[in-house]
């Protein structure tokens, strides 16, 4: 067994165990910490595939910023006591959840089968990326040339979300000292 095989087995095991912990832990903060573990092992898997930029961004954005914010909000709401009063949900909701689960798994298996059957047709092979100056350079150049419009649209979407959040949270303070 090679080193990368061992690393793959370790990271994927941690990811699966972590995801189960996210669901089964009764304390919200503990669930959040388990999710951090999942993100971390995902980034390990990306790094194993040679996608160093995605691995770094995964940790930087998801683990380092978004999850910190999650934990911050959970702590601020003081939800650190275990949730025990979970009501038994109705059969209808269970059915919908089950159907959604089955559908998702089918789509994933279908996608995996289709991708593994095809020969790699894209022009960005490992050697080609190396020639062009590495992962980071190739992705940034694509992002700022071919996909610039979509990229800028995304930033507008985020700006809209920020403005909407401020508008919603400020409206409640009318008359008061803000």
């Amino acid at each position: 067994m090679t080193g990368s095989m061992i690393a793959f087995a370790a990271f994927s095991t941690i990811a699966i165990v972590g995801s189960l912990l996210v669901i089964f832990r009764r304390t919200p903060v503990a669930s959040a910490f388990a999710l951090v573990l999942v993100f971390f092992s995902f980034s390990g898997l990306y790094a194993l595939m040679g996608a160093h930029l995605i691995a770094a961004l995964q940790i930087l954005v998801y683990t380092g910023a978004i999850m910190v914010l999650f934990v911050f909000v959970i702590m601020l709401l003081n939800q650190d006591s275990p949730i025990t009063d979970i009501k038994e949900s109705s059969l209808l909701f269970k059915g919908i959840a089950g159907l959604a689960c089955v559908g998702m798994v089918t789509v994933l298996i279908n996608a995996a089968l289709r991708v593994s059957g095809l020969a790699p047709t894209n022009i960005y092979t490992d050697q080609k990326i190396e020639e062009l100056g590495g992962n980071l350079r190739v992705i940034s150049e694509l992002l700022f040339t071919d996909h610039l419009f979509q990229f800028e649209l995304t930033s507008f979407l985020l700006l809209g979300a920020i403005v909407a959040t401020i508008a919603l949270s400020k409206r409640q303070r009318k008359g008061g000292v803000s």
């Binding site: 971390f40 930029l53 770094a56 930087l60 683990t63 380092g64 910190v68 980071l136």
Partner: protein
């Protein structure tokens, strides 16, 4: 074992040993340095100038009883110090500590991992360290500790923005985020003023970016004036209130090693990294003339020495600032982060872009 593997293990061992050696040295420098600044004596009884005080402190930490309070969340309370300390060691992996050594057998790189993403790796691993603090404060099950972690979470997110944006200008000028390439390019001469050669260091190219980076790094390492998560006069000891003995020492280790890594990053990005200090080429010439080391060995040695010297100067500045500037109030901290640092970082990117477009840089 092949030579490459042995060399890799050697590099890792050197970096780990170097970072571990930082802890007792900084213990001494911080205590005696604070005494010097505040016109006190400081610990001066053990050995000459109190040099053995650090060893005594370490022994005390090791042999002190390691007890966990009853009310803590045992599992998270136990792993939190390790989560704080491990990322601080990992961050150093992409920082080059000497130039490439070339001989008949090929190249030797004095950098543990030459990653494509370079500085982004540093930032992402450094951002994991905050979980140690958050976890410690939360698992301690106590108001002051929880407040400490809340402050830490808010502070980290606010200053990571300006930290990341402050080096965008630098990456634009050097056309790379690989620390090895950035350092190599800083060896060129920028201007010659009255016969004195000014090197192409980041600090001369990006003065505003440099100031923003240093301030953000101080905030990220939780050092005064940004040590609100600890805030001993407000929160007793903040997130590490319930920790004693070696577990507390681990948090202290994490802080000192973070300081070392932060200094190394400041040197690499803005002060030429392993590029020789003025006057060092004279030493290299004389060492080469002696002929003890293989050719080029003296250069690598002096480069590593220059790098360590630069780090040491920045470590002293960290101590100096800590004992000179008082702590921020929390609202001042947030205002500085979001209303001053963030817009200035964006302005820096804009100015750099315009200057590059005009062909000045």
């Amino acid at each position: 074992m092949s030579f490459e593997t042995a060399f890799m293990f050697g590099k890792i061992a050197i970096v780990l040993m170097g970072l571990l050696a930082v802890v007792p040295i900084m213990l001494f420098v911080e205590r005696r340095g604070s005494a010097l600044i505040q016109n006190r004596l400081g610990p001066n009884r053990m050995g000459p100038f109190g040099l053995f005080q650090a060893a005594c402190d370490v022994l005390k930490f090791i042999f002190k009883e390691d007890r966990a309070p009853d009310h803590v969340n045992k599992y998270y309370w136990h792993i939190a110090p390790w989560i704080a300390v491990i990322p601080s060691f990992m961050t150093f992996a992409v920082i080059p500590f000497a130039g490439t050594y070339t001989d008949a057998n090929g190249h030797l790189q004095f950098q543990i991992a030459n990653l494509d993403v370079g500085i982004l790796y540093c930032f992402s691993i450094a951002s994991l360290g905050v979980y140690g603090i958050i976890m410690a404060g939360w698992a301690s099950n106590n108001k002051y500790s929880l407040l400490g972690s809340l402050r830490s979470a808010a502070q980290m997110i606010s200053y990571e923005l300006s930290l990341g944006l402050s080096i965008v200008g630098l990456a634009m000028i050097f056309q790379s985020v690989k620390l090895g390439e950035i350092t190599a390019q800083q060896g060129e001469v920028l201007w010659t003023i009255a016969g004195i050669e000014i090197p192409k260091w980041g600090v001369f190219l990006q003065p505003l970016g440099f100031v923003l980076f240093v301030v953000s790094v101080f905030a990220e390492t939780n050092r005064l004036p940004f040590d609100l998560p600890e805030g001993e006069s407000e929160l007793i000891a903040g997130y590490h209130l319930e920790y004693g003995a070696m577990r507390f020492a681990l948090f202290m280790m994490a802080e000192f090693i973070n300081m070392a890594v932060a200094s190394a990053l400041i040197c690499t990005l803005f002060f030429g990294g392993w590029q020789l200090l003025p006057g060092m080429d004279w030493v290299v010439g004389h060492l080469d003339a002696l002929g003890i080391l293989p050719s080029g060995g003296a250069l690598v040695l002096c480069q590593a020495l220059s790098f360590v010297t630069k780090i040491a100067i920045w470590m002293w500045i960290f101590v100096w600032v800590r004992w000179s500037i008082p702590r921020f109030r929390f609202d001042q901290l947030m205002n500085l982060g979001w209303k001053v640092m963030f817009p200035l970082a964006l302005l820096n990117v804009l100015i750099t872009g315009v200057l590059i477009y005009m062909g000045v840089l």
